[in-house]
Symmetry: C2
Subunit: 455 residues, 2 copies
C-alpha cells in the first residue's frame, strides 16, 4: 500500500544528517584538477592557502574522503532553519492536471532566503576557527552576500561584499539587509581594486558581472592582512556543504517510500544542483537507479547548452586558478536585460564533468517563460520563488505537462532554492511586459571563446 | 528527566489542529457587543451581511461555539506552510547570558511573510463558497494585503487592496508582490471613494492610516455588486482563525513537556496576539495556570497603555460598526516618522476586554529599541524579523535580561509574527540613525479622545 504523502514533510532535528557527502569520492572519473594559471600545473593546497581558509582549501582538493563531519557549531545554526521541508506540490499538480507527482525541496525557508546559507555558515565557521581578521566575497543576485553576511554576523567576522552593480540597482534593499547583518557592501566594478579600475577603464558603463566581482573580492582578500576570500558557488567545497540539501531530501523520500524518476535543479555556478543531486547521483553511478538529472539554465547565459568544456578562469579579472568547466569564456557578461538570475559564465567542475560524461542533461529556458512559471507557482503553491529557482520550476512544469500528454505518472523532484522577496523589480517588469528574451548570437559567444586561456 | 528540546520543533501534518478555537466561549465576561452606529443597538448578523461574508459574520457574533471545524480546502493551503515551527532561541539566550528559556513560534515561514495568511485563506475560502464576485480590503505594513492577495490568487477571486500611502512609499515592492498574486492595489487615501476624497480635502498631505484605508475598502465593497469587505485584524473572526497559532504552539509545548511562564505578543489590531494566546488564556481563565500575558505596542501608537476603553469606530471614516475597545480615537494617525509598524488606533475587543479585566498586561516600547532588538535577534537567530514582530522580541529580551538580574530561569514564549524582507527602508533608517522615537503628547491624545462617539 502506498504511504500517505503529506503536503509538507520535515525531518526532525534528530534525523538531520550530521555529515556532508563528497561526491568526488564515488565518481568513476574525477573532474580534471584546478590548475595554477602561471605554471599550468595542478594546484596544491599550499597554493590555495593564500586565497582560501585552510580547512576549505583542504576540502576543495579532497577526492577520497566520502563523508565530512559537520562541526557542532555549524549544526547549531543549521538547526535554526533545517531540516528544510520536502514539499509535495499537490496544488501545482492539480492546476496542471498532470498525472506526474511533483516534489520539491524548499530551501527558501530561512531568512537569507536561499540555500546559500548552508555553505556560508560552514565557511564563516572555518574562518573563525582559523582566527582570520576578515573575509571578502562577491554577490550577484544578492543571495550569497545575504547568506554570508548572516553567517559572518553570527560568528562576528568583518566582511566586505562586492555586489554586481546591475543587481544592486535591481535590488536596492539587498544592500541594507547585508548592512543590517554588519557587512560592508561595495558595488562592483569599483575603484577599490586594480581589477575593478581596469574593467571600468575598458567599460565605464558596465553593469558588472559575477566574474568581475570575484576578481575584486579575491584581490581585496589577497592584498589585506589576515584576510581570505570565500565563494558561494562553483567550487567543490561549496557543493560539499550543499550536499545537506540532497541528503535531507533523500532521507525524507526514503521515509516516504518514494523514488524520484527525474531530478531537476537550476544551474548558475552549480552550487545547489551539485549538492542537491549528490546522494542521488551516487546511486546512479553505482548502477542502482536510472534517475534522470536535468540542469536548467537561462538562454541568455547558456554555459552548459552552448558553452565549451575547457579550462578557464573562474573570474573576469583572470586571477583565479583555472578550472576545467563548461564556460562561455570568463569575459562573457550576460545582457543587462536579463533579470532572471544565473548570470555566471562557467559551471561547477563537478557538474561539468558529470554533464560531459552523460550523467546529467541540460536545457535552457527563456526568462519570460520562467516568470510565467513563477507566477503560476506562486498562486497555487503560495510560495513566491526567486527567479533563479524558477528555472527549475519551469522545467518541472514542462516535464509534468509532457507526462500529461503521455499519461505517465512520473515522480519529479526539484530544488526550490530560494524566495523572490528581493526580486520584485524583475517581477514588476514581467507584469508590465517590459521583459524580453535575450539570446546571445553565435558571434557573441565566439568572442568569449576566443579569449579562453591556452592550456 | 527533562526532555531534550530541539532548536526547531515542527508538528507533523497529522498533528496539525483541525479546528479553530473561539475564546469567547470560555470567557467569564464577554466583550460588549458591536453596536450599529445609527441605532446604538447591538448589531445583528443581518446587519453585518451587507459588509461581510455570511459565514464570517456568523463567526463574528458567535459567543458559544467553542470549536469551529477548519474547512478541508483551507487545510489544504495550511498544509503548504503549516504547522509553523516552534523555536527554542538557544542562540539568543547565549547572547544575552540569561538563565531564561526563550521560545518563539515563527509565523514568517510562508511566502506572505507573516501570520496574516492564516485568516486570509479562511476569508477568501468563505468568499468563494458564497459565490462573491470580488473582495476589498486595506493594508498597512502590507502583510495583510500580501496574504489576502495570495489567498485570493489561489481561489481566483478579484481583490482590490487599499494600501496606506505612507507604507506604499516605504515598501514599494509590496505593491508588486500583491500584483503578482493578481490584486488591484490602490494607495489610500485615494480619489476612488467618498471617504478618501473627504480625507484628502481635509489633509491633502496625509500619509494615510489603517483606519482611513478601512473606510475606503468598506465603502468600495458596499457600493460594488456582489462584493464584500474582509479585514485582517481587530475582529473576533480574525482572532478565531489565528487561534491556529496558539493551538499549534500549545500542542508542541505539551509534547516537549514545557509550560510557559510568560507569553508575549506584539499588538496592533490584536490579531496575532489574540489567536496566539487563546488556548493558553483558556487555562488561565479556568484557573489551571497563572501564566503572565504581555501585549507590546509602540510608544507612538499606545492604544492599550494610554488609550481609553470606549466605544469607537473601527475606521477613520466613521462608517463601521462601533466596537468597545482600547482606542486613541478613530481620528488618531501616528507620526509618519514611526516606521515600526502597529499603527492602528484601536485594539481587538477581545484583547481589550481581557486587558480591562486584568488577564493581560501591556507595555509600550520605543522604535529604536525595537530595531536594536531586531538587529541583535537577526544576527544570533539568523531570522530577520518584521518591525511589528520585533516589538515582541524587544519585550522578550527585556524580560530575559530581568531574569539575568534576578537569576530566575523563567520560560518565555513569544510570537514572531513575520519576516522583515519588505521593511528594509526602515532598517536602513535605523542603520543611518535617522530614526527617532516619537511619543505623542497628552494634548494630541486628548484631541483624539474628544472625537469619540457619544454612546
Amino acid at each position: 500500500m502506498e504511504k500517505k504523502i503529506p503536503y509538507r514533510f520535515v525531518l526532525s532535528e534528530d534525523q538531520m544528517p550530521k555529515q556532508w557527502y563528497n561526491l568526488k569520492a564515488d565518481m568513476k572519473e574525477l573532474p580534471p584538477p584546478l590548475l595554477n594559471p602561471k605554471t599550468l600545473q595542478p594546484i596544491t593546497k599550499e597554493e590555495l592557502y593564500p586565497i582560501f581558509c585552510k580547512e576549505l582549501a583542504d576540502q576543495e582538493l579532497d577526492t577520497t574522503t566520502r563523508y565530512f563531519d559537520i562541526p557542532e557549531e555549524v549544526l547549531d545554526i543549521y538547526k535554526v532553519y533545517r531540516p528544510s521541508p520536502l514539499m509535495r506540490a499537490y496544488n501545482l499538480e492539480k492546476a496542471l492536471g498532470t498525472p506526474a507527482k511533483i516534489y520539491y525541496k524548499y530551501e527558501g525557508n530561512n531568512t537569507s532566503g536561499s540555500h546559500k546559507l548552508n555553505s556560508a555558515v560552514a565557511q564563516a565557521y572555518y574562518a573563525k576557527q582559523q582566527g582570520l581578521s576578515s573575509l571578502t566575497t562577491e554577490t550577484g543576485a544578492g543571495q550569497w552576500g545575504t547568506a554570508l553576511s548572516e553567517a559572518c554576523g553570527y560568528f562576528g567576522i568583518p566582511l566586505t561584499v562586492y555586489m554586481v552593480k546591475g543587481s544592486a540597482a535591481q535590488k536596492p534593499y539587498r544592500k541594507i539587509v547585508m548592512q543590517t547583518f554588519g557587512a560592508n557592501v561595495v558595488e562592483s566594478p569599483s575603484m577599490t581594486t586594480e581589477a575593478g579600475r581596469k574593467i571600468l577603464a575598458e567599460m565605464p558603463d558596465t553593469t558588472g558581472s559575477l566574474g568581475c566581482a570575484i576578481s575584486e573580492a579575491v584581490e581585496k582578500a589577497t592584498t589585506s592582512e589576515n584576510s581570505k576570500y570565500v565563494l558561494g558557488s562553483v567550487l567543490d567545497q561549496v557543493l560539499l556543504h550543499q550536499s545537506i540539501i540532497g541528503l535531507e531530501a533523500k532521507k525524507a523520500l526514503e521515509l516516504l517510500d518514494v523514488q524520484p524518476d527525474i531530478i531537476i535543479g537550476c544551474a548558475g555556478g552549480g552550487s545547489n544542483l551539485g549538492g542537491f543531486i549528490a546522494p542521488f547521483m551516487k546511486e546512479k553511478i553505482e548502477g542502482k537507479t536510472n534517475t534522470r538529472f536535468i540542469a536548467v539554465e537561462p538562454v541568455s547565459c547558456p554555459s552548459l547548452t552552448r558553452g565549451k568544456y575547457a579550462y578557464d578562469f573562474c573570474d573576469t579579472g583572470r586571477i583565479t586558478p583555472l578550472a576545467k568547466m563548461y564556460t562561455l569564456g570568463c569575459g562573457f557578461i550576460p545582457s543587462a536585460n536579463h533579470a532572471g538570475g544565473l548570470r555566471y559564465h562557467g559551471m561547477s567542475p563537478i557538474i561539468s564533468k558529470l554533464y560531459d560524461d552523460g550523467y546529467i542533461e541540460a536545457m535552457s529556458v527563456e526568462q519570460t517563460r520562467v516568470f510565467e512559471a513563477a507566477t503560476l507557482f506562486s498562486r497555487v503553491e503560495t510560495i513566491l520563488p526567486a527567479p533563479e529557482s524558477s528555472h527549475a520550476i519551469r522545467a518541472a512544469i514542462d516535464v509534468a505537462l509532457e507526462c500529461k500528454k503521455t499519461g505517465e505518472s512520473k515522480t519529479i523532484l526539484f530544488c526550490l532554492t530560494g524566495s523572490g522577496f528581493f526580486d520584485m523589480s524583475a517581477y514588476g517588469s514581467f507584469i508590465q511586459k517590459t521583459m524580453s528574451d535575450y539570446i546571445p548570437s553565435d558571434e557573441y559567444l565566439q568572442k568569449g571563446f576566443a579569449k579562453l586561456p591556452k592550456v
